[in-house]
């Protein structure tokens, strides 16, 4: 479990003004499953996710983690182009490399071990990044909007892959996204966040089957969740959503 209380992030811009990017953010991410931070673009999601992954310092916070090792998958492809798939996934491993082949199979890269990622699609490179995070026995993986540049078919494949990983491993996934459909499909728990300053305005538990298929996107329950989220944003912010992908 990951518990964060009152994260605040203030920075000074080039003119000298203090900008409150994040204000008193409190999150309780359950162990295992996928928790999503759904927020419009420019709300400080990336900063929040980087703070969770220990890549950025917060201005003030109380953070309690049982997850010791948190891998971070940024929005742009992070697989190393000078390494083949196998070496990329083994990157960071000191000793035990026995599970690597299992992980390569799990992320759907079997048969591509010798391929280099530099001229491959973003979906392929995301699989490598996911494989590398899993191979390093991380307790949690923080994923920051990695599906933005994927075409819709690859995106659906990746959604199914992420759900498969949630079912087959004990890893906790923390996803940051501005895409409502993606957030509902992948999440077990959602945190709705507003911008300027970034604040959590609501939490929603998603009660959908653990093993999800693409046709779920058209189900009544799914549409109800989408309406609920849109209503929540509208009620709490007093206006319709903007800067969101649906």
């Amino acid at each position: 479990m990951l518990k964060i209380e009152n994260i605040s992030k203030v920075y000074t811009d080039s003119v000298g003004y203090k900008i409150h990017l994040l204000e008193n953010i409190t999150l309780e991410v359950p162990k295992k499953g996928c928790s999503t931070i759904l927020a419009p673009k420019g709300s400080g999601k990336t900063s929040l996710l980087r703070i969770i992954a220990n890549l950025e310092k917060e201005t003030s916070a109380t953070i309690e983690k049982t997850s010791k090792k948190i891998a971070y998958i940024p929005s742009k492809p992070s697989s190393f182009p000078w390494m083949n798939v196998q070496s990329n996934i083994e990157f960071g491993l000191e000793n035990s490399k026995s599970d690597v082949n299992k992980i390569i199979k799990l992320v759907g890269l079997e048969g591509y071990e010798d391929h280099f990622p530099h001229n491959k699609s973003e979906g392929f490179r995301f699989r490598i990044a996911l494989g590398r995070a899993l191979a390093n026995n991380t307790d949690a993986i923080v994923i920051d909007e990695p599906f933005n540049n994927l075409n819709s078919l690859t995106r659906q494949e990746i959604y199914l892959l992420v759900r498969k990983i949630i079912i087959e491993t004990d890893v906790t996934i923390i996803l940051g996204t501005a895409n409502i459909t993606e957030a509902i499909f992948l999440s077990d728990k959602m945190f709705l966040m507003k911008k300027k300053p970034g604040e959590i305005i609501d939490e929603i538990s998603i009660d959908l089957p653990t093993d999800r298929q693409i046709n779920l996107l058209e189900s009544e329950k799914f549409i109800k969740y989408r309406n609920l989220i849109e209503e929540t944003f509208k009620n709490k912010l007093g206006r319709l959503l903007y800067n969101f992908s649906v």
């Binding site: 220990n54 492809p77 992070s78 990157f91 923080v142």
Partner: protein, 254 residues
């Protein structure tokens, strides 16, 4: 996506027929139509000069000398940067202004070094070797500084979040700057051809520069033209070699 190799292959394919056409025009024009002229030597005299170049000018030794120094300096420069990459990274981050200054003035500095080294070392061949290594190292260091600061944040974030050791983190930076460092090696290669020929010309003892000096001294214009042709061909072949090394070992975009 159109790769760099695509252009290289296509350019090579276009250059050869073009060269053949130029050679044909040259032979017809200067051998038969304008045999006595003050522009270019007759092709037949040019061919006769090949023997003279090897016999009287000791060209093979001179060419081997310059070529060896260029490629030896490129190798030594690259391996020195590789060995001292951590120190270099520290140095470049500690003295960013100095590196920027070096970058801005590098062309002037390279020419200045030629004259300083001539003054310090005279005809000593180690002086020339040292000059070549300094030029390669300087160019590589400047490029390492520039590109190390431009390493994609996503690579660094991904690596850092896996709690890897400092040496592995430096290795990520090192690997990701490789294509740019190799471009710098290519630049150094062209610079060295120019600088060493100037250096050897001034010294007049070793290398192709000294052959140039001798040919100019004897007013042997056909040898000068021949030397220019040989150097251009060598540059072209070296570029092909460097490009094939790039395609094999540094194929990704930085």
């Amino acid at each position: 996506m159109i790769s760099r190799n695509y252009f290289l292959k296509n350019n090579s394919a276009k250059i050869l027929p073009l060269l053949a056409k130029v050679a044909f025009v040259y032979i017809i024009l200067f051998e038969f139509i304008l045999p006595a002229n003050g522009i270019l030597p007759k092709p037949s005299i040019l061919i006769e000069s090949v023997t003279s170049l090897f016999k009287h000018y000791n060209f093979l030794y001179a060419f081997g000398f310059t070529l060896s120094i260029i490629f030896f300096a490129l190798l030594v420069g690259y391996f020195l940067i590789r060995i001292f990459r951590n120190t270099m990274l520290y140095f470049t981050r500690t003295f960013p202004t100095l590196i920027s200054l070096l970058d801005t003035t590098k062309y002037f500095l390279m020419i200045l070094l030629v004259f300083i080294f001539h003054f310090w070392f005279g005809n000593n061949i180690y002086g020339e070797l040292f000059l070549a290594i300094i030029v390669v190292l300087g160019n590589l260091k400047i490029e390492y500084f520039k590109s190390a600061n431009e390493v994609k944040q996503e690579y660094l974030d991904a690596a850092q979040s896996l709690n890897i050791s400092e040496s592995k983190k430096t290795n990520v930076i090192w690997k990701s700057v490789q294509p740019k460092l190799f471009s710098s090696l290519e630049f150094s290669h062209y610079s060295l051809w120019t600088l060493l020929i100037i250096y050897e010309y001034i010294n007049g003892t070793n290398g192709i520069g000294s052959v140039f000096r001798l040919a100019i001294k004897y007013n042997d214009f056909s040898v000068v033209v021949l030397l220019i042709l040989i150097i251009s061909t060598s540059l072209w072949l070296s570029t092909l070699l460097l490009n094939s090394i790039r395609a094999k070992f540094f194929f990704w975009n930085s």
